[in-house]
């Protein structure tokens, strides 16, 4: 039996210091929908990264003997009119969607953050000029902007990434600019300036770390939008040239066979929906974990 004095004298064990990453993960896992999003996102990434193993059949291998096979048996998700395995094409297509998603978001986050920080920090003419450009870009619907850029650059993976990336710049620029305006006048920035920190150093070392969580949240949510835009461009035939499988082009190819083989179009659409949903849920979870202020926006 412990006496009250003994209890009092026992030093309380200090709570282990947790990294910000660990805290964020714990917060995400505690929310059921965010955890679900995380699990789905991981599964999709793993399937895509290990496509040579998880894909099974060769996605380009044609077998007219096995054309238009419904899902089941040797071909889990059936085959297309050229006898190619739909599952395998789906898994390889995930590589395109995810890589466009990640690279395009990196492009837009990079350009948008730079524009937002420069505009927000310096204000005045810089800000006015940057915001005018952003306003012009925003006067085009995202998909149209991406179509216009692809139309000029020509189809192909790199051009697709650039097109979709540039069309998402305004969202990042506006968000970052707003956040910078919020922290610009704070004491630590004044202090950095007072001790003679250069403009670049202040922006990179003091302002950026304070807006980074907002950028991470928007980036996760934007992956969904980018994947949807990429699929629409591929559907219109403005993405990567055949025979490389992409989800959008798989849906387009399937429309001719919709009546007798609906799975060819329907299955890639479900894949897009699950992926977009996963990143949306994960993004919402991240927002709640990292920046409760933004909740409900």
């Amino acid at each position: 039996m412990t006496t009250p004095a003994a209890t009092l004298s026992t030093p309380k064990r200090a709570a282990p210091r947790r990294s910000r990453f660990a805290l964020t993960m714990r917060s995400i896992l505690r929310r059921r929908s965010a955890a679900l999003g995380l699990v789905f996102a991981i599964v999709i990434v793993v399937l895509a990264v290990f496509a040579p193993i998880t894909g099974g059949h060769d996605p380009l291998e044609q077998s007219l003997r096995h054309k238009l096979k419904p899902p089941g048996g040797d071909y889990v998700l059936g085959t297309d009119p050229l006898g190619r395995d739909v599952w395998s094409r789906l898994v390889w297509g995930a590589r395109v969607s995810l890589s466009v998603g990640v690279v395009a978001v990196a492009i837009s986050a990079g350009l948008g953050t730079t524009a937002g920080i420069v505009g927000g920090y310096f204000g005045g003419r810089w800000d006015a000029a940057i915001m005018r450009v952003i306003e012009v870009l925003m006067s085009f619907p995202l998909i149209l902007l991406a179509i216009a850029i692809v139309a000029v650059l020509g189809p192909g993976l790199t051009n697709l990434m650039i097109a979709v990336g540039i069309s998402s710049v305004p969202q990042f620029a506006r968000l970052v600019r707003g956040e910078v305006l919020r922290v610009r006048g704070r004491e630590f920035v004044e202090a950095a300036r007072a001790i003679g920190g250069s403009q670049t150093r202040i922006m990179a070392r003091h302002i950026l770390p304070n807006v980074i969580s907002a950028i991470v949240i928007l980036a996760t949510l934007r992956i969904s939008t980018v994947i949807l835009t990429e699929s629409a461009l591929s559907f219109l035939g403005l993405g990567i040239s055949p025979p490389t499988p992409t989800w959008g082009s798989m849906i387009a190819d399937g429309t001719k066979w919709l009546r007798i083989a609906p799975w060819i179009s329907i299955i890639p659409g479900i894949a897009i929906m699950i992926t977009v949903l996963a990143f949306n849920l994960l993004g919402d979870g991240l927002r709640d974990a990292l920046d409760p202020r933004l909740r409900g926006e």
């Binding site: 149209l144 849906i251 919709l258 009546r259 659409g269 897009i272 949306n280």
Partner: protein, 313 residues
């Protein structure tokens, strides 16, 4: 009136910016427009120089730019490489198709979104609420063109209720409306989800306000409170969402028109891209941008009407 004028003048820099953007975009496009017009068989430099001179491509870029901006502002959008016809009449003939589709999308969004959102708010934390929130989440994740194909498969192929593609017979309003149903649902589903979410959260917020309590205390029935007091105020944020979303709907029309093989600006644009008909691409993009700028002005005006507190100037 002064406000309308001031608001229209304020859009000028954006419009000139959009024109500049289109100018730069086409100038950085690889390939010589003169060669595109003449085709590969004309490699003869005399013919090329002639076409370049006709297009004004032999002049300094800055002169080209000034001429181009003044041409655009006067509504001279150039000639199509493909047909040789004026670009503007060609675009103009496709505007009604796209505008009809976009507004049908708004109609679907309001028709489905508002009641579903209101019902979810009134039956908060019941199965009605959960089902509608899940449906909204799915609708936001589904690509609109794929949803359109799914609608075609179920309602045109399996059930045979609607035509598979096309815009209906041009002389029959009934046939055109009939052909508009599936595309309108396909394009409006995402907006309906946004509207439902916004209507739900906005109504929940309004229902907690003092004036609602007062109305209840006066003995107004529950449907009366919702219809006469709550919904009316809850719809202002919904209007904002719709205003912002019209830009998305216009952009979405590009893809949906292709799915349903409907004539419109989107189909014109995609076809022009396939044939590298740059003047048409440029013109269509500018008309879209102009449309969106005008819609934004219109939305601001409507705000002033429904919510006098936020009337500007």
């Amino acid at each position: 009136m002064v406000f309308v004028l001031r608001r229209l003048v304020a859009t000028l820099p954006t419009l000139i910016g959009a024109i500049t953007f289109a100018f730069i975009l086409i100038r950085i496009a690889p390939g010589d427009p003169a060669r595109l017009i003449l085709g590969d068989e004309y490699q003869n430099s005399a013919a090329l120089l002639q076409v370049r001179a006709k297009l004004g491509l032999d002049r300094p870029v800055i002169v080209q730019y000034v001429d181009y901006v003044s041409d655009m502002l006067r509504g001279n959008f150039g000639e199509s490489f493909r047909t040789g016809q004026g670009v503007l009449p060609e675009i103009w003939s496709q505007v009604p198709g796209t505008v009809t589709l976009a507004f049908a999308g708004v109609f679907v969004a309001v028709l489905i979104g508002v009641p579903v959102g209101a019902l979810a708010a009134l039956r908060r934390n019941t199965w009605v609420d959960y089902v509608s929130l899940t449906a909204a989440m799915l609708a936001l994740a589904a690509p609109s063109f794929w949803f359109g194909i799914l609608l075609i498969y179920v309602f045109a192929f399996l059930l045979g209720w609607f035509p598979i593609f096309g815009a209906g017979q041009p002389d029959s309003v009934l046939s055109m409306t009939h052909a508009l149903v599936l595309p309108a649902i396909a394009i409006g589903a995402r907006s309906a989800a946004l509207v439902a979410r916004m209507a739900r959260s906005s109504l929940l917020e309004v229902l907690n306000q003092d004036y609602i309590r007062t109305a209840r205390a006066k003995g107004v029935s529950q449907p009366g409170v919702v219809r006469r007091h709550a919904l009316r105020n809850a719809l202002i944020p919904v209007l904002t969402i719709i205003g912002i979303d019209i830009a998305y709907l216009l952009g979405g029309a590009v893809v949906i028109e292709t799915v349903f093989a409907r004539p419109g600006l989107g189909k014109l644009l995609v076809d022009a891209i396939y044939t590298r008909d740059y003047p048409v691409v440029q013109g269509t993009i500018l008309v879209f941008s102009l449309g969106i700028v005008l819609v934004n002005v219109l939305v601001d005006l409507v705000y002033g009407l429904v919510e006098p507190r936020i009337r500007y100037g």
